[in-house]
Structures are given as structure tokens and as C-alpha cells.
Amino acid sequence: MYGKRLRGLALTTAALLTLTLLAVFFWAPNDRTEGFLQKIFYVHVPMAIITLSGFIAGGVLAIQHLRTGESRWDLRSYVAIHISLVFGVGVLVTGSIWAKAAWGHWWVWSEPTLVSFLLVMLLYATYQPLRFAIEDPERQARAASVFAIVAGVFVPICFTIVRLSTAYVHPRTLDNISGNLPGRMQLVFWMAIGSVFLLWLLLWRYEMASKHTSAQLRRLRQLLSEDDEALPPLRRSAAPTVEHAGIAGR
């Protein structure tokens, strides 16, 4: 059921992404001080916003999992965090490039957003090792959900505290994010946010569909084979197992 609207979503995402990239390179004006390299801001900041939202979404989905005990929420939470982790790496890389372009160093401690992001990523990097270290699937899911909620709460708090503790050396960033952008820049910025969001959503649905399909395949194999023990047992995995993949059976 997750595969149905994938194609439409993929086409829309591709279209909006292309449009945004064209706009970034050909339509948005060059920044007065930073020049051409400032344009990486259109990738870095939307990606950062979407990544953090993804982490928080993972926490909200985890709350649902703990409340209902249904494993499908755990799967949704896992995929949300997983995709956000991948995007997060992109944020750190583009952030580093932007730092080099704007301030001449590959890393700056004076940029609170970048520092907070590093901290958040260090925390979320333990998500999969944590899951992998617990074999019992139900305990794994529950522990992962507890973690996702704690980490989700940590994200905004961490940003606030790091921001409070950092001297404002470069207020420029705040100006840019708080919507203090001239007309064209702002439009392209919002287009960028839209495309990154769609990309995240597309990848989320794609991974969900992929997991469900593997589970369905396995279930079919199980039903077709006579012997209960015919299938090799699933390898230990950090990913949640998908149950009753929509196929009724014995």
C-alpha cells in the first residue's frame, strides 16, 4: 500500500527540485558579500530544517508506538529517523562547505546552529547501534521509542542552550533564517524547503514500501513452504521486523 502513489510523488519531487535548482543558479540574486558560494545556503538550511523536523517527527511517531503498542508506528519512527540521519550528514557537509566559504575555516565553533547540529547528530548516531544491540524485537522497539522521544525533546532544548552559550559572532545567519530575506531570495528559499521536504517524504515512503515488500515476500515464502522451519531465520538487524504484512494466513 505504500508503493501506490510513489510514482506521482517522485515525479513531483523531481520537478520541484529541478525548478528550485534552476532558480537558485539562474534566478536568485548573488549575495553581496559572500558571492556565489552563498547559494549553498539554499541547500544547507532547508536540509537542516527538514532533518530536525524529521527527528522530532520520529519522536512523535515513537510516542504513538508506546501508547498503542502497535509495531507499525515503530517502523514509521525508525524510517523517519533513518532518513533524517542520512540528510543530517548532508547538512554537516554542506554546513562545512558554507563555513569555509563564509569564514575561511572548515569548521567554526561560533556558529551555534552548526554546533548544535553536530551534537544532535552525535546523539542520533547511537540510534541504530542501540537497536542492533537488543535482540528481542519487542524490547528493541520499545527501547528505540524511548530513545526517540528523549532525543526528540533534546533537539530544541539543545539548540536553545548552545545558542545561549555562544557569543554572536556572525549574526548574518540569524538574519537569513528569520525570513529577513529580500523578495526573490525568500521565494527561492521556500521553494527549496518545499523540495527538500518532498524529497524526505519520497524517501520515507520509498523505504516503507521497500520494507513492506520484503516482509510480504518473506511471508509468501513462509506460507508456500510446508515446513515451519524451512526459511533461514532473519539476520540480527537494527530495523524493526514487519509483521502480518497484509497477508492473512495460518
Binding site: E135, E138, A143, V150
Partner: protein, 229 residues
């Protein structure tokens, strides 16, 4: 119909058991204390400084105490996991939250005992300004740091204990979550350790207290889910 015994009694019994086992096995406190003193020596050699003041002093103190705390967090639930303590507790009608309170209180106590030795040791070995004037402020910060570590440490300890790589996951999970505590503590004590000593920024104490409160509440809300099988 089994009535749940009053939470005071349960927390008291759990804490007494906790302290009794610690006094007989000495698994946490001596190791944490010794580790912190050794780390001060390491810092002396690593930084090549005979004395530190200001932000350097804050950094050495809090990072050392943090790593010592992580040792304690790792050991917090091990005895229970290995000797069926979880089952024994879960089979009783006692309120689950009591375990969190008792373990948190135990960790707080362990840290306090460690700090009674470790902080003077720090002052002796490395601290440049005298400790006397800084004491009241330092005590307040220590109390808030211990509270934060107790809340987050108990949650992370329970999370990590029944995993295969608990000794690795404990630190990996708790350190990022404790960074804001280090930020608050360091920014509070840097003026205290400067020569001449400056006043402590009270707003950081407030921020630290709020952080502790938020995570204490979250730990309390989520703890039950970690105990179940």
C-alpha cells in the same frame, strides 16, 4: 486485590538494598573516585600545566566528573540485570516509578561521595585560585549537575543495561545528553575559578535547573516502558 505499598516504603527499601550492595562490593564509588584523580594527573601531563584557572579549570573539573559519572551510570543496573533484580521487582505490586527514584537517588549519592574527595583533590592538584570563596557557588552547581546526571543517567542506564554492548552504549547515549549540563556548569564556574574571582552568572543555574527538571519528568514518564519484557 493487591494494594501497592506506599511509594516511600518501596523507595526506602530499594535505596537501602542499593547502598548495602554497594558497601559490600564497592563496585562504583572507589572506581569513580580513583578514576577522577588519575584523570587530573593525566590532564596535568596532557595540558602541561601545573595550575589551571578560569575556563580551563572549569573544563578539567567538569569533563573529569562527567566521565567518572559515566562509569557510575554503566554500573547502576548491572547487579539487577545479572541477579534477576528486574523480575523480582516487576513481580511485586510496587509502583514502577519507585525504582527510578531509588536508582536516581543512589546515583546522586554516589556522585556526592565521589565529589567530596575528588573536588578537594582537584583544588590540591590543579586549581590555581583558592577554593574557599568559590565554595557556595560551586556547591550549588555540583548539586544541580548531580541532579541532571541522576535523571539522565538512570534513564540511560536502564536503556543500555539489557543490551549486548552496554558498556559502550552507556557513554555514547549519555554524553551528548549531558553536554548541556557541562555547558551550564562550565559557564557558571569559570568566573568563580578566575583570578580575581568574579560573580557567578545566576541565569545559568536557572537554565541548568530547568534542564534537570525537563529530563527528570521525561525519565519518570518513560521509565515504565523500559522495565517491561
Amino acid at each position: 486485590m493487591s494494594d501497592s505499598p506506599p511509594i516511600r516504603t518501596v523507595v526506602g527499601a530499594l535505596l537501602r538494598k542499593e547502598l548495602r550492595v554497594e558497601l559490600r562490593t564497592f563496585e562504583s564509588i572507589p572506581a569513580m573516585t580513583l578514576f577522577s584523580v588519575t584523570t587530573y594527573v593525566l590532564f596535568h601531563f596532557g595540558l602541561q600545566q601545573n595550575q589551571v584557572g578560569g575556563s580551563l579549570a572549569s573544563g578539567v573539573l567538569w569533563v573529569t566528573l562527567l566521565f567518572a559519572a559515566v562509569l557510575g551510570i554503566n554500573r547502576l543496573f548491572v547487579a539487577d540485570a545479572e541477579q534477576g533484580g528486574f523480575d523480582g521487582f516487576l513481580l511485586s505490586p510496587a509502583d514502577r516509578g519507585a525504582l527510578l527514584l531509588a536508582k536516581g537517588a543512589a546515583l546522586f549519592l554516589y556522585l556526592t561521595v565521589v565529589e567530596v574527595i575528588s573536588v578537594p583533590a582537584f583544588a590540591l592538584l590543579l586549581l590555581e585560585p583558592s577554593l574557599g570563596a568559590a565554595m557556595p557557588g560551586l556547591l550549588a552547581v555540583l548539586a544541580l549537575v548531580n541532579l541532571g546526571v541522576a535523571a539522565i543517567g538512570t534513564l540511560v542506564g536502564a536503556l543500555a543495561v539489557r543490551t549486548r554492548s552496554r558498556d559502550l552504549l552507556g557513554p555514547l547515549l549519555s554524553l551528548p545528553l549531558l553536554v548541556p549540563v557541562v555547558i551550564g556548569a562550565a559557564l557558571s564556574t569559570t568566573p568563580l575559578f578566575s583570578a580575581p574571582a568574579r560573580a557567578m552568572p545566576l541565569h545559568w543555574l536557572v537554565i541548568l535547573a530547568l534542564y534537570d527538571l525537563v529530563f527528570a519528568v521525561i525519565a519518570f514518564a518513560l521509565f515504565d516502558y523500559l522495565l517491561e519484557d
